[in-house]
């Protein structure tokens, strides 16, 4: 069986002042998999993600996506290479409509034109972009809210819009930063179904950043566990569930002392 590695992080080191936020961290993400990156709060998961997005520059290490060096790319180029992301603390273009947010997400897929030439190219480009955005909104169930202001949506739908916006970039790899946080159970079930569908049916690779372990067990093919900036475990869900280091990181050592 040959599996191909789509994305690789090697020996990542991120330092904020005297704090080593990420220390000698490595992980490999296989093409077409759902890979979970989990760890307790403050473990450094979002920092890893911010390195990938090039919002944070690591002190050392390598990040390679499909054979290309991510550290050589500026943030917008990362997206154009095929990596999209959502945000833990929902970031949206709040003053813009739901549709406009998705059009922003599709920007890397929308050809350029000169604003002053109201010719056919412009009309066709904009019509195509709107049609594709609407198709995507239909898929995530937000089409009825097409013209609502993003800031006016409820929390769950704002998270869904964040995801829809990220999907509009037609990524090959999608990083989701705590997509389930704050969602109701029914919403989580629907989200899981959508993610599995995107990966199995659409060939997408997903990295799920999450601190609630139970949420990822059912969908993840592979799990990497991070604590205090270091990788403490890496393997399949069943393996991770039994790993004593992981149990300790999540439950603390008192469990052993009591037992």
């Amino acid at each position: 069986m040959s599996v191909s590695v789509l994305f690789r992080i090697e020996d990542l080191l991120v330092q904020f002042g005297g704090l080593r936020a990420i220390d000698a961290f490595s992980m490999e993400v296989e093409q077409g998999s759902i890979h979970a990156l989990i760890g307790p709060n403050g473990a450094g998961k979002s920092t890893v993600l911010n390195c990938v997005s090039r919002f944070v520059t690591p002190r050392s290490g390598r990040m390679v996506f499909d054979g290309r060096d991510l550290l050589a790319a500026r943030p917008h180029v990362v997206t154009r290479m095929g990596i999209a992301r959502t945000f833990q603390n929902i970031e949206l273009c709040r003053e813009m409509s739901v549709l406009e947010n998705v059009l922003v997400g599709a920007m890397s897929q929308t050809p350029r034109y000169l604003p002053f030439l109201p010719g056919f190219a412009r009309g066709r480009i904009e019509r195509d972009a709107v049609m594709q955005a609407e198709a995507l909104l239909e898929r995530t169930g937000l089409l009825p809210f097409r013209d609502a202001k993003a800031a006016d949506l409820d929390f769950g739908r704002q998270k869904l819009l964040d995801l829809t916006r990220a999907l509009a970039a037609k990524p090959r790899m999608l990083f989701l930063d705590e997509p389930a946080a704050g969602l109701r159970n029914a919403e989580i079930t629907a989200l899981d179904a959508l993610l599995v569908d995107l990966v199995r049916g659409g060939g997408l690779t997903i990295v799920l950043v999450e601190h609630v372990m139970q949420l990822v067990m059912s969908v993840a093919d592979h799990i990497t566990v991070l604590n205090f900036g270091r990788r403490i475990a890496d393997g399949g869900p069943a393996e991770i569930r039994r790993n004593p280091d992981v149990i300790e990181a999540y439950l603390g050592t008192d469990a052993h002392a009591a037992g």
């Binding site: 997005s53 917008h76 003053e95 009309g123």
Partner: protein
């Protein structure tokens, strides 16, 4: 929201141009002078709004670009004997180039730091206007020669009025096209969330520099228009009071909307005139009234008059 603007928006522009030609014979020269000034302010405020309202950058350098455009137009007319239709675009282009050069370092800054850096640049530019005696006439200023357009000598506000109406209509058309284009969407995304913009593949630095440059071009065009309605310029005309006035127009009228900016221009622009003619002693209170209006507007109508009106209409439906 995106795509070409609806036809009715362009009819408004044609009406503006038609008024530009129809009005002058029937209106006293003084009122035409007022309307001419308002059109210059409108050009300046539209450019400022592209930067502030659409791309979310609070910069205070527009009076400097206004000055560069105005001096540029006058100097090109005087020294090279160019007709207005070459001198004005020339001056505006110089303003845009200066804007581009200022944008490269200053768009690395955000919020109050951007405001301070551009404020410093504007004061620096005023110092240059005042000191480069060989070019700008220094503190004595420059007398503006009579401009010619297609062989016509522009000697009165009556003659200038249609010219400014056409330029403003063109700027309004350009603004509509820009804000509803892909680039307009990029600017709005940068304004609302730089993180979302970057994560969507938008080159945030490029958008900021481009918005800054286009805004400087508008200010430069406004400067060229100003040269047409004045007979004399010196550095004092490009100071901070003008910057505050333009800022008030955009904020009170409604940032990020063309009708809002135009409402702000008319209200704030006519205020000193009303104060002068109706309440002679109130002229002293002008600055205070601006301040109070700005404060009230920001507190009670954060989206300006236009934002409050459209918000109320939407709420009623």
């Amino acid at each position: 929201m995106f795509g070409s603007p609806p036809l009715r928006h362009q009819i408004v522009l044609l009406v503006l141009v038609a008024i530009g030609f129809a009005l002058p014979p029937f209106v006293p020269e003084y009122y035409l002078f007022l309307l001419n000034s308002l059109m210059v302010w409108a050009a300046l405020a539209l450019g400022l709004d592209l930067l502030m309202g659409w791309s979310g950058q609070f910069a205070f350098a527009h009076m400097a670009f206004f000055g560069v455009g105005c001096y540029g137009t006058v100097i090109l007319t005087k020294q090279l004997d160019l007709p207005f239709l070459l001198a004005m675009p020339g001056g505006a282009l110089i303003a845009a180039v200066v804007g581009f050069l200022v944008a490269i370092p200053s768009t690395r800054l955000r919020s109050i730091y951007l405001a301070l850096a551009t404020f410093a640049f504007a004061e620096g530019a005023r110092f240059v206007f005042n000191s480069w005696t060989g070019l700008t006439g220094g503190p004595d200023g420059l007398r503006i020669p009579t401009m010619t357009i297609a062989g016509w000598k522009m000697t009165s506000d009556r003659q200038v009025f249609p010219v400014l109406a056409i330029i403003l209509a063109m700027l309004l058309f350009a603004t509509q096209q820009i804000v509803r284009s892909r680039f307009g969407r990029e600017m709005s995304a940068v304004r609302d969330s730089e993180h979302v913009a970057m994560a969507s593949g938008i080159d945030v630095r490029r958008v900021k520099v481009l918005a800054f440059t286009v805004s400087a071009l508008y200010s430069g065009i406004a400067g060229g228009m100003y040269a047409l309605i004045n007979s004399f310029i010196n550095a004092q005309q490009f100071g901070m009071d003008g910057a505050v006035l333009a800022l008030s127009m955009v904020v009170v009228g409604g940032m990020g909307s063309i009708p809002g900016v135009l409402i702000g221009v008319v209200l704030i622009g006519l205020l000193p005139v009303v104060l002068q003619t109706k309440l002679r002693s109130m002229q002293l209170w002008q600055e205070l009234i601006y301040g109070v209006m700005l404060t009230l507007s920001v507190t009670f109508m954060p989206r300006g008059i236009w934002g409050a009106v459209t918000g109320a209409l939407r709420g009623r439906r």
